[in-house]
Each structure stands twice: as structure tokens, then as C-alpha cells.
């Protein structure tokens, strides 16, 4: 039995919220630098240079990478032998978000009601998914999701007979329609299978995967590669102003599904792909 105090969770979530909004993921930065070598468009090259400079300025903690410091997403994996002491785990995560966004001078972008639209002024609530597992491990994969790219995400209930070609067509159509809006170069997260909601959750989770860590399943890895090539052949380029760098990565996650269905969700993420793993 492992005991974790809620104060430990609050502190870890708070620090992760701040850090992920000021420090560009080294793999994304590496992605910019690699893309700069191959980018065909002069405008595109200029944008990549500016994004590298933006990362340098943000790393001094003068200002976050992007003013849209996002809605916080937390995927919690908690062992059955872990006991949380001193309060509710959900409350602790929300408190960590609250403190991180206040103390980190991050933008409060959450409205309490989608219709009435009054700001909660502390960037809560974040969205939390729990996964109960064996043992005494505890980890939170935290992300802060900007909405320029979230707004360009789509779902479709394909027919089983649509197969791989149906998935490819839907993903390419989604990225092409999104064009300049999701702030390319983007990360493309795709959930395939399960139910409508499960596919969306898979797509979101795939965005937190380290960049260019391919799927462990051979047929999915080859689909990821095929899609990345096809997306970069669209010509959308950095910021949608033309070029050969439209996406830095394509991540796919799958789940068993029903004999009658092939749910697909495409969740786009901007180049400011902010995520951080907490292990306690």
C-alpha cells in the first residue's frame, strides 16, 4: 500500500501546468529544427525560425509559448494499492490547476457554462480521465489543449467496409479543411474503434504520446507513416501559408469495436503541443 498526500498531488500538478506552458517540448523543438532543413517554402522557413525564437523567449519565463494556455486534460493511472490521503484526488488535481494558472500568470480560458459563458477565472475545471490499474503506481499525463486546433477536430462513424482507405480519406479531408486554422505544423491525433466517445478519448490521449514514438502495432505504425506523408503532401505548410511541413507527427490509438462500426475521431493539436508526465 502506497500513501500519497493530496498536497503532493496539488504541488506536482501546479508545477507541471506552469512548466509545460513555458518550456517547449524538446522533441517539438527538434521537430522545428529538422523541418527547417527540409522546408521548401521561404515563408515557411521564416515561420519555423520565429517559432524557434519564440521557444527561446518563453523559456526565460517572460511569457508563455502561446497566450491560449488551454484547457487542462489529465489522464490519471492509479494503482489499486494506492491510498490518497487528506482529501479527494479530483479536488487535488483541480486545485493544482487553479494554483498553477494563477501563480504562473497563465490565461484563464474556461467558462462555467457553454451557453451562459461566464469565466470561472481560475481555468478550472480541467477534464480528468481515470484508469484503475494493478499495483501501487500513480501517474498523471497532463496536457493543456489550445482551442484553435480543438475547433478543427472531427468525428465520423465509418462503415466497417470503409476500412483503411475510409480512415485515410477522412483524416486527409479533416486536415485539408482545417487548413491554416489549427496553427500548423500540427500533431494529428487519431482514435479508431470503441464507441463515439471512446474514439475521442483515444485521439486525445494519442496527442500526449512523445513525438514520433510510433505505434507498437506494425499495421498502425505503417498507417501513421502513410498519413504523415500524405498530410505533408497537401502543401498547407507552416501557418497554412504554403510549404512542405504541415504536420510533425501522426499518432493513432485503437480499441476493440462493434461488428457494425468503425468510429474515427481526428483530434488536431497545434505546434504548441503542451504535455507533461507526473509520476508519484
Amino acid at each position: 500500500m502506497k500513501v500519497i498526500a493530496v498536497s503532493t498531488v496539488i504541488k506536482a500538478v501546479k508545477e507541471a501546468c506552469i512548466e509545460m506552458n513555458f518550456l517547449v517540448d524538446p522533441m517539438i523543438l527538434n521537430g522545428f529544427e529538422t523541418a527547417l532543413q527540409s522546408e521548401a517554402s521561404k515563408i515557411g522557413q521564416g515561420i519555423l525560425v520565429d517559432l524557434i525564437e519564440n521557444a527561446r523567449i518563453a523559456s526565460t519565463y517572460k511569457a508563455p509559448i502561446c497566450q491560449d494556455t488551454g484547457m487542462v486534460i489529465a489522464f490519471v493511472k492509479i494503482g489499486q494499492d494506492v491510498r490518497i490521503e487528506g482529501g479527494l484526488l479530483t479536488d487535488a488535481i483541480q486545485e493544482g490547476i487553479r494554483q498553477g494558472y494563477e501563480d504562473g500568470y497563465l490565461r484563464k480560458s474556461i467558462v462555467a457554462d457553454p451557453i451562459l459563458r461566464k469565466n470561472t477565472n481560475d481555468n478550472t475545471p480541467g477534464i480528468i480521465y481515470y484508469d484503475l490499474v494493478a499495483g501501487d503506481g500513480f501517474e498523471i499525463e497532463l496536457g493543456s489543449k489550445g482551442f484553435g486546433s480543438e475547433n478543427m477536430s472531427r468525428s465520423k462513424m465509418l462503415k466497417p467496409s470503409d476500412g483503411i482507405e475510409g480512415i485515410v480519406d477522412f483524416v486527409i479531408d479533416t486536415v485539408e479543411k482545417a487548413g491554416s486554422n489549427p496553427c500548423p505544423p500540427i500533431i494529428v491525433g487519431i482514435g479508431v474503434g470503441g464507441t463515439l466517445d471512446k474514439a475521442a478519448q483515444l485521439a486525445k490521449h494519442s496527442l500526449l504520446r512523445p513525438l514520433n514514438e510510433p505505434s507498437k502495432m506494425a499495421h498502425i505504425e505503417s498507417l501513421e507513416k502513410r498519413l504523415l506523408q500524405a498530410i505533408n503532401d497537401l502543401g498547407i505548410g507552416p501557418q497554412g501559408l504554403g510549404g512542405t511541413t504541415t504536420a510533425l507527427a501522426v499518432h493513432i490509438e485503437t480499441f476493440p469495436t462493434h461488428i457494425a462500426g468503425l468510429p474515427v475521431v481526428v483530434n488536431l493539436n497545434c505546434h504548441a503541443s503542451r504535455h507533461k508526465k507526473i509520476v508519484l
Binding site: 515563408i43 500568470y105 500524405a230 503532401d233 497554412g240 501559408l241
Partner: protein, 186 residues
Amino acid sequence: MDKIRITTPLTEDVIKKLHAGDRVLISGKIFTARDAAHQKMVALIDRAEPLPVDFEGQVIYYAGPSPARPGEVIGACGPTTSYRMDDLTEPLLKIGLKGMIGKGDRNAHIITCIQDYGGVYFAAIGGAGALISESIKSSTIIAFEELGAEALRCLEVIDMPAIVVIDTLGNNLYHTEPQKYKKEPI
């Protein structure tokens, strides 16, 4: 490519000389407004009530900055996606607004409006909020303070980097440039 220095408010002469693809450095006063502030301003125009600012020749920046850290003028202040303002833009162009800074393509109606009202649309780099904030020298809330990040602000900028993406003739970089790099599927 040389960058063109321009100063707000924008005159007809300056706008005519700007072409899609030009890189510009903007100086002077610009005004931040996004979804909620646009809704409020359009409602004021509909009711024939006065606006908090005279927009004649002015430039609106679609942006909602993050809070300033102590000792800083502003937090990150990059552009938000412009299409959300497409249905709320013409009333402002009608009363003299000349420039818009944002990111992403505009709809066909707004592109026609940009031609008809003699305006110009600039793109700033989305997700470069820290870089852009370096060119902002002051920030003052002038209306709708209750909207927080979405309040109407006056920013004084020096050499704020942007790209002309839709010029006053309707040339649109979002349409012309990607075509050059598109490869047909094998």
C-alpha cells in the same frame, strides 16, 4: 525579403501599396478584440449607440493576451483564429476599420468586404505569443473589462511582425501559396 514599416492609423495610400506576401512591421496603436468584444460592439452598432473607440483607419488585433508577469507589459499575445469573427466584421469595416491582424483564412464574404471597403488583413504567427509580446510597449484596457482576456485593449506596438495575407485587391496568400507545394496523391 525586406520588411515594410507601416504606422497606424492606416491610410488609403499605404493600404494600396501592400500586397499579399509582403512582410510588414507595424507600429502605433492597435486594438485587441475577439469573439465576446465583437459581439458587444456589433450590438452597440445595431442599437446606434457610440463605440468605445473611433475605428476610422484603425487596426483590430484578434487576440486575448495572457496576464503580465510582474515587471512585464503583457503576457503572451499571439493571434487567435480569425474566422470566428467573420460574421461580426462587416459592421466595423462599414464604420472605418481598415486593418485586421489574426490567423487563418477568412470567408468569401469578408474577402469581398476587404476589397469593397479598402481594407487589409494581416497574419501574425499563431503560437508565437512570447515573440510577439516583445514588440508590445504598453497595454491599456479601454472597454469591456469584465471580459478579462477578451476585453477591448489598446496596445502600443513598435515593429510588430506580420504578413499581408489578403490585400485590398482580394489576393489571398492562403489560396495561392499552398497550391505551389501541393503534391498529387500517388
